[in-house]
């Protein structure tokens, strides 16, 4: 797994969990590209850089199932917890995980 930053200097409130549709995702623009925040069917949230390890497809636009997302461009499935491709594409690169914290229903993204 490839965590973007170990110790964020700052946590930024980017919205409420309920702003993200269940089994869906929203994106948060940052100066270094979009971050995708996913909410799974069981209410967990995950944050990844919004770029597929294959050809940079926007993962926030994929179908969320279990704790994975299927990229909209060429259908790689990415593990939300690690950013790693699953199944046959395992080991072919990895999308960075972005630090995310939930505090009382609010989402906080870590800033480097």
């Amino acid at each position: 797994m490839n965590v973007l930053v170990k110790d964020p200097i700052d946590w930024i409130d980017v919205g409420a969990i309920t702003d993200i549709p269940s089994r869906g995702a929203r994106r948060v623009p940052t100066p270094t590209g979009d971050v995708a925040i996913f909410r799974t069917g069981d209410g967990k949230v995950f944050a990844l850089k919004d770029a597929c390890p294959h050809k940079g497809g926007p993962l926030s636009q994929g179908i969320v199932h279990g704790h994975a997302v299927t990229c909209p461009l060429h259908a790689w499935s990415i593990d939300l917890a690690t950013g790693e491709p699953m199944g046959a594409d395992r080991g072919k690169g990895c999308t960075p995980v972005v630090p995310l914290e939930v505090r009382e229903g609010r989402l906080f993204l870590g800033r480097i």
Binding site: G43, H65, G66, A81
Partner: protein, 842 residues
């Protein structure tokens, strides 16, 4: 200087009784604040270890003896009385020489003087103090929160208030909060004769304990018990008349009428007293592994504490805390190291259990079992070869067993195959080679429980009828034809009986790895069993994953839309991005926009509006497509709604260039202009497109209408093509010109334009109802045969029925998705969640 014996730490004179106690028996004074679950259990544990050590005084804010709080739910439901749930009656206090001050809350702790002061001015000194003040129910800060009839669910007074409200005939209740407490409250109120609705912010009930599949089953089971649920509903305001609650207003504008409103949205550790005394507080009252607070004379247990950063809201951890505390108070060893939790719902006839990492996650593997017949859903999560969590619905008998495996970290690799079937099956088979176990079964042993088929009947049929496949055994004996859970057993019987003659690969190809059912079977059962939601299908067809995958979800979503037009609520999250945002995603994450140009016709107004949009939004490419319309490529996602608004204003709607649905109807100029034209091909194409647009189909559908057999609209390589001739209309089907080049076949010939439209709609509907998801018409045709399709559209009654079903479903489909988005539907899809990161990071 030694302390005077008749003085306390602050130099105050001690009462005589205390003095005698201390000098004669040297008993230490133990005070417990809180006469609840934790406080009394701590005392019991201390007494068990050393009955004579302390002189014990308990203060309780509630005016009653110690009772089992978790049993308030059955009391509310009328299944138990207060007397049934008393844990320690008055005799217990008396026999153990405990002084109980019931109905007297402690107001101040004077740590310096080592005394507590209670309501009414009563002061008592201590050597050791235990705080067990529990927690307070959270009250949402909604307007109207102080109206009469707004209650929480924590103690007997609350229960009595609820029971009183239910006495009024026709009274209605709304419960905010779909957690354990809220559900038990609503169930109890229904048992008391009220109509009750649970309003829950999240779209899964008990989402902290249940996954979406179990949550769905729970909502369903509650409905059969009379408890209604409003999921994903945001409460906005409590409304009332004359100071009495009359309803709950939701953010979506609806008001749910009610005479009683229960808030069951969570608890907060009750630390007021400790805080005022200057003890260290985090989220709760902070304690160490011996349950000591920052003052060594003061300990704390129960829901009021925070231990290793964790606060608890269940009794199991409290029992463990009390043990550690009692050990410390009696000078024996014992630490509290935190608890692993499990939950069970107390609603009669609804079996729910959850523990640990029930929702899986990083590096976890799921084993899912569903038995639709019994309404059972089980999910066991395995991590590093051990049970990491479980959620059970409908049959929670093995909950304790899984919980035990989990807490003991028992390796389960060896019992993995049978683990999901529970303890008795697993232990029954332990050590036995599965084949030997099957061989050892008696002929009369039942193999298939659903259909009552015994082993002898199966092996008999295999031998006598020469069966070689699982499918044929299913067809002949019905064994494993229903829930499928005995499939492995039936396969073993085939192997045992046939040896190498067994053909393993059987039956139609499953929809995907989440199920053993094929598309046809899934479609048939959706209709036959009236399954109207995705979780309902997954449960009935015993999906082996909790919420499907990117292959089966879009397929099921389509099958449901097709089966229940107007009824089924489209699941956006099960659609490929293009169908979710009504535009085609491009390789750089931008989108293309293709407005409809009916039958390829356009006008100067439309072209001008398109040109204006291109300029206004700086759209980089404009292209004429192979489908006779215009493609605007490279539009930014955020701009989509604004682009559509402008196109809508000029009368244009979405061209569905992204859809598994009707795409283009390509036409030629026909009799309007062409010297060879035999019929109005352009007009027919426009009529077809205006009637059929917006329809969802298994894969894309393209039409072509040519005015004569010269076929300038390339109708014979379209899914459905029309070739106009002097005597009428030839209808062709099954063409394609993409990955496969395939000419159409002639389906039928009709005399009038009306009949042509009827026939085309009927074929389309037959395809909609029979096609497998992603199967284009030519593949469907190859599978079912041209003759079968022809038979359906040439029989007038069948054709009419198909046409009418198509027309009915079109009533709900011809809605421009662009206009809906422009009007504000699903804006979250287009707007970023937040822009704060951009500005925060300089």
């Amino acid at each position: 200087m030694a302390q005077d014996l008749d003085r306390d730490g602050a130099g105050r004179r001690l009462p005589l009784a205390r003095l005698i106690g201390e000098t004669l028996m040297a008993k230490e004074r133990l005070i417990v604040v809180g006469n609840g679950m934790a406080g009394c259990r701590a005392v019991q544990d201390v007494l068990k270890r050393d009955p004579d050590r302390y002189e014990i005084t308990i203060f309780g804010a509630e005016p009653r003896v110690n009772y089992d709080r978790i049993m308030l739910s059955p009391v509310l439901a009328g299944e138990k009385t207060f007397a049934d749930i008393v844990i320690n009656d008055e005799a217990w206090y008396r026999d153990n020489a405990i002084t109980l001050h019931a109905g007297r809350a402690v107001q101040v702790i004077d740590r310096e003087a080592r005394v507590v002061r209670a309501e009414g001015g009563l002061e008592v000194g201590y050597d050791r103090l235990i705080l067990a003040t529990g927690s307070d129910p959270i009250r949402l800060p909604l307007p109207g929160g102080d109206l009469k009839g707004v209650v929480t669910f924590r103690d007997l007074d609350d229960v009595e208030a609820m029971v009183a409200a239910s006495a009024q005939t026709g009274a209605r209740a709304v419960v905010i909060g779909g957690g354990l407490l809220g559900i038990e409250a609503a169930y109890g109120l229904v048992r008391r004769g009220m109509a009750a609705t649970v309003v829950h912010l999240v779209d899964v009930l008990m989402e902290r304990q249940l996954d979406a599949s179990a949550g769905f089953l729970l909502a369903d089971a509650l409905a059969t018990k009379g408890v209604a649920t409003e999921l994903g509903a945001v409460s906005e305001e409590i409304v009332g008349v004359n100071g009495q609650v009359t309803g709950l207003k939701l953010k979506d504008g609806r008001t749910l009428p009610c005479d009683l409103l229960v808030m069951a949205v969570g608890i907060r550790p009750n630390t007021n007293l400790a805080k005022a005394a200057g003890l260290e507080i985090g989220r709760g009252l902070i304690v160490d592994d011996q349950m000591r607070t920052s003052d060594p004379r003061i300990s704390a247990v129960g829901e009021c504490v925070e231990h290793r950063g964790q606060c608890y809201g269940l009794v199991a951890p409290i029992w463990e805390m009390c043990k550690a505390l009692a050990a410390g108070l009696t000078d024996t060893a014992g630490d509290y190291a935190g608890s692993v939790l499990s939950t069970r719902l107390k609603v009669s006839g609804v079996d729910v259990f959850s523990a640990g990492k029930f929702a899986g996650g990083d590096g976890c593997e799921d084993i899912v079992f569903r038995d639709a017949g019994r309404g059972v859903y089980k999910r066991v999560v395995i991590e590093d070869g051990k049970v990491a969590g479980a959620v059970l619905f409908g049959d929670a008998a093995d909950g304790a067993w899984y919980f035990d495996l989990m807490r003991r970290n028992t390796p389960v690799a060896e019992i993995r195959e049978t683990l999901i079937f529970g303890q008795s099956v697993t232990e029954g088979l332990r050590g036995l080679d599965p084949s030997a176990a099957v061989a050892a079964l008696a002929d009369s042993a039942e193999v298939c429980g659903c259909n009552g088929v015994c082993k002898g009947a199966i092996t008999g049929a295999i031998v006598e009828q020469g069966l070689k496949t699982l499918e044929s055994v299913r067809a002949v004996t019905k064994a494993s034809a229903s829930c499928g859970s005995c499939t492995p057993l039936v396969e073993k019987l085939l192997i045992l009986t046939l040896g190498d003659g067994f053909q393993a690969q059987t039956g139609p190809k499953p929809v995907c790895g989440c199920t053993h059912h094929g598309h046809t079977e899934a479609r048939r059962r959706i209709v036959a069993e009236g399954l109207k939601s995705m979780p309902a299908v997954m449960q009935a067809l015993e999906w082996t994953t909790p919420d499907g995958c990117a292959s089966c979800r879009p397929a099921l979503n389509y099958y449901l839309i097709c089966a229940w037009p107007g009824d089924y609520q489209d699941d956006k999250q099960s659609r490929f991005i293009n169908e979710r945002v009504h535009a085609n995603i491009q390789k750089d994450g931008t989108y293309s926009v293709v407005p409809r140009m009916w039958g390829g016709m356009t006008s100067s107004d439309e072209l001008r509006a398109i040109a204006d949009v291109v300029d206004k939004f700086k759209i980089p490419s404009v292209k004429v497509t192979g489908g006779q319309r215009i493609d605007l490529l490279g539009v930014q996602k955020d701009d989509l709604p604004a682009v559509w608004a402008d196109l809508n204003a000029a009368g244009m709607v979405s061209g569905h260039a992204y859809a598994k649905g009707l795409r283009t109807v390509k036409t030629c100029v026909g009799t309007d202009w062409c010297r060879f034209g035999t019929q109005d091909s352009t007009g027919l194409g426009v009529r077809l497109e205006k009637f059929m647009w917006g329809s969802w189909t298994p894969a894309k559908v393209k039409l072509g209408v040519s005015g004569c057999p010269r076929n300038c609209a390339e109708a014979t390589c379209k899914d459905i093509g029309v070739i106009c001739v002097d005597s009428g209309y030839e209808i062709h089907v099954g063409g394609a010109a993409g990955l496969h080049i395939q000419g159409t076949e002639l389906l039928t010939k009709v005399a009038t334009e009306e009949e042509a439209i009827w026939t085309i709609c009927a074929v389309t509907q037959a395809y909609r109802e029979q096609g497998w998801y992603l199967e284009r018409i030519y593949k469907w045709m190859a599978r079912v045969g041209l003759d079968s399709i022809r038979a359906q559209v040439e029989d007038p009654a069948a054709r009419r029925a198909l046409h009418d079903r198509f027309a009915y479903s079109q009533r709900f489909s011809r809605v421009d998705p662009w206009a809906e988005r422009v009007a504000g539907r699903h804006t979250e899809e287009f707007n970023p969640l937040s822009r704060r990161m951009e500005f925060a990071t300089a």
